[in-house]
Symmetry: C2
Amino acid sequence: MSEKHYSYNELYEFTYSVFKKIGCSDTHAATATKVLLSADMRGIDSHGVARLIGYVRLWEVKRVNATPDIKIIHETPSTAVVDGDSGLGLVVAPFAMQIAIGKAKSVGTGWVSVQNSNHFGIAGYHAMMALEHDMMGIAMTNASPLVAPTFSIDKMLGTNPICVAAPAGEEPAFVADLATTTAANGKLEILQRKNADTPMGWVQDKDGNPSTDANILKKGGALLPLGGDREHGSHKGYALGAVVDIFSALLSGANYAPWVPPFPAYVPMPVQQPGKGIGHFLGAMRVDAFRPADEFKNNMDNWIRGFRNAKPQQGQEKVLVPGDPERAFEIERKKNGIPLVEAVVNDLRQLAEKMQLPFKV
Amino acid sequence: MSEKHYSYNELYEFTYSVFKKIGCSDTHAATATKVLLSADMRGIDSHGVARLIGYVRLWEVKRVNATPDIKIIHETPSTAVVDGDSGLGLVVAPFAMQIAIGKAKSVGTGWVSVQNSNHFGIAGYHAMMALEHDMMGIAMTNASPLVAPTFSIDKMLGTNPICVAAPAGEEPAFVADLATTTAANGKLEILQRKNADTPMGWVQDKDGNPSTDANILKKGGALLPLGGDREHGSHKGYALGAVVDIFSALLSGANYAPWVPPFPAYVPMPVQQPGKGIGHFLGAMRVDAFRPADEFKNNMDNWIRGFRNAKPQQGQEKVLVPGDPERAFEIERKKNGIPLVEAVVNDLRQLAEKMQLPFKV
């Protein structure tokens, strides 16, 4: 796999111009670009510019509205439901998170469920918006069905990620950002490119048998919930994915379970649509709604250092704290740029030609 | 393993009289008994009357205060911190959940972090308190360190369970109640009684090597986070357990990470105590703070039926919905009573003698 490196600014400029070209406002284009590239910077390559062409294709088939009228359709002092008006999730989710933060400022916490949206990039970006306000941030989204619940052959849930971010003092923030599956789809894509097998416990075939085929999703197979099988707690991963679906879609009126619209524009929409678009859930909790922020942050520092100082297993350098791997990527990529595999570069080049935009390669 | 069956009322009467004997008020004794026995009824035998003698021992060494002055020490419209005054978690957690429910009534959601408490039984009881108010309920607690994070030899977290309960319409409620480990400690105890091994991925030995020894905790080993190992997503289980710790203890000022007090009274308290007692986190979200409760509950029914109708794997009767196994136990035990293994019966008999209480066997 050949890889080329691009600076953040190069990719920012191009991505921004693509979002402008499909009709986004300056502000929306800037937000969407920042959210998308935060994935590349944090090493979650499957959710970054690699998906740019996918968002454009959704716009082409009129499933993404580039000029959405995003609005609150119901609210209480600590909650709101937002209608994303089919906008980019990259724009809708930060809008909803700002509302959560505002409500947390006034009543301690804010919780916003979102309907009628599209894929929102990485959950981490949205949850981390809370940190600068000395708040904890929570972000979840449902997604199209790739995951078979425990005992099921049918795919009923998406990889439904959860992110929780908590500020610290001298230490960097705690950021747990995880798909509720054993492995996210992006991990399969990496193995596909290498022609490698998956470990047992990641996927099953179309009949529900254990499999190690990284291409199994194309053959009717499914991803497995965190835990892998019943004996290893897959019913827990399934339950967590279900919770994400309920918070994101049942509370908001979005589509849920197997009826969540797919990301690839060429995949037909589900026949049954019990709600609108896909759903997210965003939350913010003001730390000092519980105790003085300084006390909390001192304790977080002590907590984090405790884990960093835990004795590592032989062969492991150290025990990591959630957020460490992504932060290491960020530091490295700020210095050396973002590596893109050839397939992604080709997609971007194709996009540049079609939209008559410059893309330097 | 010989087992005797006891009716709910028999065990209620005895358990209530034990709590009265250590000095609990009528109300506290009744609440503690209800919470404790809800575990036995729901098939979570490790958290029911099997633990009664353990609570009494904690009271004997003055780690449980039978007449606590449980109070709010800080609050905002949607949040509170509760000081449990070293009371039984069985009493402190329902107190805190009532506050969460009250705040949800007035501002849409309520979130209560608790310090200075003790073990609270099953998370499910507390989360399910929200259901009758047409609210979603959330309950978490930290616990003494039995779990080694990914790459760690040291035990840094408890089994830190999470429960989320959501009301449905005609269908029974969705109740996901799970330890953030591959298997809870109670599962090991069952295998110990059978002299059986654990599957791979449940535990590791004192040096961090994979193990299948169900007695490994007594030999310096550890439980593993949900996922088992890094390749199967144990960093996600670890992150979820960490989130529970932060919500329960860092927000409240309870002890956290490896410094959480142990349940067995004979285990010495940690030398370092950065907080007070153990911590819980209780939340309630009014469904109609988001959308009309009827709409939500209709959608939940449709969601639940979708999963029940999913195609099961060969050899599996059907796909379950979180809460189904516990509900099946409840139905069966209401009819046939609660089976107690001999070791538990002996504990109760010993307790009856010591406290001069009648215990019919």
